[in-house]
């Protein structure tokens, strides 16, 4: 079992959860999202984000609109859909459960 596989498994679900959470607060264009994710050290390279966004858009969790940019090509502004909101709510509760579970299990280990 490779450590990288486990790590990416863990990161994968969280990444989608985080993108949806960022967009919950309002629309954003990829560079904004990247900035936030980079700050949180969730992603290292920007290339990771684009396939994820496209996939979320294809499953109708996200939508986008075009906006002209003064510095460069037109930008895609992403926002969360209603379906995405429902999805996010479910993820919220799952995450809470998971966080609790992790806290509990790791705590026990430390105590021993």
């Amino acid at each position: 079992m490779k450590i990288e596989n486990t790590q990416s498994q863990m990161r994968k679900g969280i990444l989608e959860y985080c993108i949806l959470s960022i967009l919950k607060n309002g629309e954003a264009y990829p560079s904004d999202i990247i900035g936030k994710l980079k700050k949180a050290k969730l992603i290292v390279v920007e290339g990771t984000l684009y396939p994820l966004l496209t996939r979320l858009k294809n499953t109708k969790l996200l939508q986008y609109r075009w906006e002209e940019s003064t510095s460069g090509p037109p930008r895609k502004y992403y926002s969360i859909t209603e379906k995405g909101n429902t999805f996010l709510l479910e993820l919220d509760s799952t995450w809470k459960d998971l966080a609790k579970a992790v806290r509990l299990t790791t705590k026990t280990k430390k105590d021993e």
Binding site: N5, E46, Y50, G72, P74, K76
Partner: protein
């Protein structure tokens, strides 16, 4: 100093150093390859290109051209596919993974139309890819179906044309051919695809200048379709002709080869006369040369057919080699023909006079006519010769009736034959025999002559009956095939002379039983 290239990224034009362009181009190709299984790969790539354009714009505030450093920085920011491999690879459903594994082993294939190898719609070549056979065979099969099913085959073809998707993406093409997915294949396919995209871009440019005749306009599509159907029909007709050439040549070649390996027996097994011409001519060697002489043009026809069907080209050296071989075979054949003609170069005659002794003044002539089958005979100058018992026999001799120089009935048998020299020819004539029976005043001829030799050297036999003045012959109807151009005072045709009594007068043969006007 650096040479720059102009590129269009997400609608913005950049000047980019040539070396930087190479790196960027490679990077985008790697990304394309990486996302090839992705549903909306094009969209992802567009987004990434858009982001790269944005990053370039930020860096170009103070200068004109994108440099190698810029490109490397941007690539570092965007990341190599290997860096986000872990985040994508796992996303594929289990089924997809199995599929890819099969694909990698060259197991699983899907039926697509192969537009690249198409003649009309790419159905045959798609089928060939699926069944892993040469497209040549799938077209042959289609051609046979056309024969068996008549108009049903084109109908099925059109149904498949509509129903089957064409293999467009790299992955689909690999899936179609079941090729192993490895770096070389992908690189090859990506190059092809880039060419296609390049063409698409060129087409799109034209679209703006020619709105109506643009690449995607309905009108253009119709025209494209018509052109494709027409060229398809031409190509199809060409390949039909090619297939015909191949089949025709193949069948002929089959016989020629049987001929070569069986020493003429198969081709001439129904013609037993051949061995009597020259027993050592149709030996294996001559048969081989003859086979080459006939076979090489047939092979040429087959190759021509192959070229029409499959565009198989033959190297010039082979063509020259085959042609030289053909010339050699021609030379040897001519040599054999010369050997044979030598056997016939001299002619000799042998005349035998037989006295026919009879008390009567009237001779009844008839022929012991048996209906003989002379199917396997050699026919020369009206004489047919065929094997008979251990030797040969012939028919076709002619009987003339002339005035005798003395008071005897004489039958003159004049035999002719050929040979390598006078002596051999003479020997051949001596082998010719002809029999008749004399019963009182009935002279009955055999309807054939015998040749007491194994060799056929154009043996001929002519008969002349000498009739003394004052004597009478009766020509029986059985002589119909024997008598020829008998001179008579009435200038009567041979056939009319039958069934009558003819008396030899000083003036010539005179009919004494005809009712003359």
């Amino acid at each position: 100093m650096n040479k720059t290239v102009n590129i269009n990224l997400a609608g913005i034009v950049f000047h980019i150093d040539e070396d930087a362009f190479e790196i960027l181009n490679n990077y985008l190709n790697t990304l394309k390859n990486h996302f090839k299984n992705e549903e909306s790969a094009d969209e992802i790539l567009e987004d990434i290109e858009g982001r790269i354009a944005e990053l370039f714009t930020e860096r170009l505030s103070s200068k004109e051209a994108v440099s190698l450093t810029d490109v490397n920085e941007v690539i570092t920011i965007m990341g190599e596919p290997s860096q986000y491999d872990d985040e994508i690879e796992q996303e594929k459903p289990q089924e997809q993974q199995h599929k890819e594994e099969d694909l990698r082993k060259g197991k699983r294939r899907k039926v697509f139309r192969d537009e690249e190898g198409r003649m009309i719609g790419g159905v045959c070549s798609g089928m060939a890819n699926y069944f892993d056979i040469s497209v040549f065979w799938s077209r042959i099969i289609f051609f046979f179906l056309l024969f068996i099913m008549g108009p049903g085959a084109p109908f099925i073809y059109i149904m498949l044309w509509i129903a089957l998707p064409s293999a467009k993406t790299t992955a689909e093409k690999l899936e179609m051919k079941g090729e192993k997915v490895n770096i070389n294949n992908i690189e090859k396919n990506i190059k092809d695809e880039l060419n296609i995209i390049e063409n698409k871009i060129l087409d799109a440019d034209k679209k703006y200048t020619k709105e109506i005749f643009g690449a995607n306009s309905f009108f253009r599509k119709i025209v494209d379709f018509c052109i494709r159907v027409i060229t398809g029909i031409f190509k199809f007709a060409g390949s039909c002709f090619g297939i015909f050439c191949i089949l025709f040549g193949g069948i002929l070649l089959f016989f020629i080869f049987s001929f070569a390996f069986s020493g003429a027996e198969i081709l001439f097994q129904n013609h037993p006369m051949v061995e009597h011409v020259c027993s050592n001519f149709f030996n294996n060697k001559s048969a081989t040369w003859l086979s080459l002489f006939i076979g090489i043009p047939i092979v040429a026809i087959i190759l021509f057919g192959l070229r029409l069907v499959n565009n198989t080209k033959i190297h010039m050296n082979y063509k020259i080699g085959i042609f030289v071989l053909w010339i050699i075979s021609l030379f040897f054949l001519l040599n054999s023909a010369k050997d044979i003609s030598i056997e016939f170069q001299e002619e000799a005659k042998n005349t035998i006079i037989e006295n026919i002794i009879t008390e009567s003044d009237t001779l009844y002539l008839s022929m012991n006519d048996v209906d003989r089958v002379f199917d396997n005979a050699f026919d020369a100058k009206g004489f047919k010769v065929t094997p008979f018992e251990d030797n040969l026999m012939g028919i076709g001799m002619q009987l003339d009736v002339v005035k005798s120089k003395n008071n005897n009935f004489n039958l003159i048998k004049e035999a002719t034959a050929r040979g390598k020299d006078k002596h051999l020819a003479k020997k051949m004539t001596e082998g010719i025999g002809f029999e008749f029976t004399l019963e009182d005043d009935n002279l009955i001829f055999d309807d054939f002559f015998t040749i007491s030799s194994q060799e056929w050297r154009m043996q001929e036999l002519d008969l002349t009956l000498e009739l003394p003045v004052g004597m009478v012959v009766f020509l029986d109807h059985s002589l119909e095939d024997l008598i020829y151009d008998i001179k008579n005072v009435h200038n009567m045709w041979d056939y009319d002379m039958l069934g009558h009594y003819w008396k030899m007068e000083k003036e010539g043969l005179t009919c004494i039983s005809c009712r003359l006007k």
